[in-house]
């Protein structure tokens, strides 16, 4: 079963979602991450991803991922196979704003690496920009950030009638 799970998780996020619906678990990402992480994480790095990050989606759904020091929030989404549509399209090369996340003011202020002009330039193109917005690919985890909660902004803009 676990073998087929890994296969499926790799195949499609939709499928994970349906498992979640079926199992009616509120927090099951850890269930999957334990079986899938091992294949993605560098084998030499033995430290465990133990910094917990909660992503709150626009519909209020909370999904949880775990990361390590010096991983960024985009890594957490990818390594935990979190289901967020279109997240991280440019894979962390500061060429899009699809990993836009909104932090709490306190957390935002505490971050040691402040946004560069280039990050702010990309954020300016994001939908639902706020004063405490960051690109997930530029926010690096530290141990102190365990338990961080971030909001995934609603990205749908209106497709106008033309």
């Amino acid at each position: 079963m676990s073998c087929s799970l890994v296969y499926r998780v790799g195949l499609s996020r939709t499928v994970i979602k349906s498992y979640r619906n079926l199992l009616r678990l509120s927090d099951h990402s850890s269930l999957f991450s334990t079986s899938t992480n091992s294949s993605n994480v560098d084998k030499k790095d033995q430290s465990k991803p133990d910094i917990k990050v909660t992503f709150i989606k626009a519909n209020g759904q909370k999904i949880v991922g775990y990361g390590k020091t010096n991983e960024n929030l985009l890594d957490v989404v990818i390594n935990n196979h979190l289901d967020i549509d279109g997240f991280g399209a440019c894979e962390g090369t500061l060429a899009c704003s699809t990993c836009h996340l909104i932090l709490k003011k306190d957390d935002f202020d505490k971050l040691k690496n402040k946004p560069t002009d280039e990050e702010l330039d990309m954020l300016d193109l994001a939908f639902g920009l706020t004063e405490t917005s960051r690109l997930g690919c530029q926010v690096y985890l530290t141990k102190e950030m365990d338990g961080l909660e971030v909001v995934v902004p609603e990205t749908i803009n209106d497709a106008r009638t033309t």
Binding site: S12, C96, T161
Partner: protein, 484 residues
Amino acid sequence: MSSFFCKQCLKTMINSFLSVRSNLFSYVPNVTLACKRYIQTIKVGIIGSGPAGFYTAQALLKDSRVLIDIYEKYPVPFGLIRFGVAPDHQSNVINSFTNTALQDRVSFYGNINIGQDVTLNQLLKSYNAVVLCYGATEDRKLNIEGEDLINVLPARRFVGWYNGIPQDSDLNPFLQTEDVVIIGHGNVALDCARILLSPSTDITNHALTALRESKVKRVYLVGRRGPLQVSFTIKELRELTKLPGCDTIVFPEDFKNITAETINELPRPRKRLTELLLSLANEKNLNNNHKRCVLMFCRSPLQIVGDKHGKVSSVNLGVNRLIQQEDGVKTELTDEKEILKCGLFLRSIGYRAVSIDPSIPLNDKTGVISNTNGKVHGFDFGLYCSGWAATGATGVIIGTMNASFEIAEHILKDFGQNEPLLVEKPGATEIIPHLKSKGVKVVTFNDWQRIDELEKNLGSQLGKPREKLVNQKDMIKAVDEEKD
């Protein structure tokens, strides 16, 4: 049970639990009591394999019944990601699109010209739905005198030339001139200026060779409105300002009517963009040895003037006054005129969707396919459009992504509401044999991966990530040779 979960979820769940599809039948009766006609596959044909095509496909795949065939005009996929985005900007979305294309429920068919090789009508008959994602490729003309002179080109073709679009590979733009005028204040205009002033080494080899021998020293970016109305985005402008050996020039006069308060009240993105422009206007340290990119505001081209050989030599500009109206800032010509010398003239003032079939309604004013939430007007059910063909050529990829996701949701909702009308369709099994019988060489995603490998090999010999094949024949040859 069927009232507890929505029908869609149930089907998804069952599909995901049972790896062997035939087992499904034993479960179906429980689920489909409410729905007499259970359709196993919904076949969707997508026209165009650019960002709109792939993002729409990704979102449609959420319905586990959906099977997608993506048709592409060129033998190679990804549309503007390959051909439009400046090579030094090519992001990694290609990885995500490749993963989508490699899914069992997705097929890619390249080198197929919809409207010529196969008609829209045939597609509509073979698919439950067809989504037009072919973008906006026709450039708007200025409609002024001299537009047909030699060395007056659409900026889009210039982009195609350095990016390796097959039909633009022999454009040979005239670069033995010191002055280039580009009309338009959008990202395409800025991309052209950047490549003209400091060619990125990732562009196609024929373009790089030509640009290395270019004599271009000054590029004038001419816009009809002011600094507050530019369409380009800050990322592109900042890159221009950071080009080595090149100064970006903004005239302080253009800011004389823009107060600090006005700037402060702007929404953050426009505010930061305007502040960057203002900082350029205040820049005093210009280097005389540097190349120059000059941003000119409130100027409209009135006439393009040619020399005795029919080549462009200068452009007459009219100076505009800005008028604030309810629906935006309009321009009015003043009596003041200017002449700008130039040996190459590029226009980039917007793009229109083309019509690949007479039955597709186009909005003449906006240049897009007439649609509501992606549903093409005049078609009850079954024909949709997404991306720039639907919204017009505007914005960056995230906008296209969001709009495509939303249109896909509308399409899925339409499927739900019209469930009884859905019948099994043949999809590609009917179209592809027809194409082959007509002698059309169909390029699959596997074939593309061979071309991809070849291009990467060619690139590594030149010390860059990829050297694109620019000729459709070469692409086909690459596929055929590998097969032998």
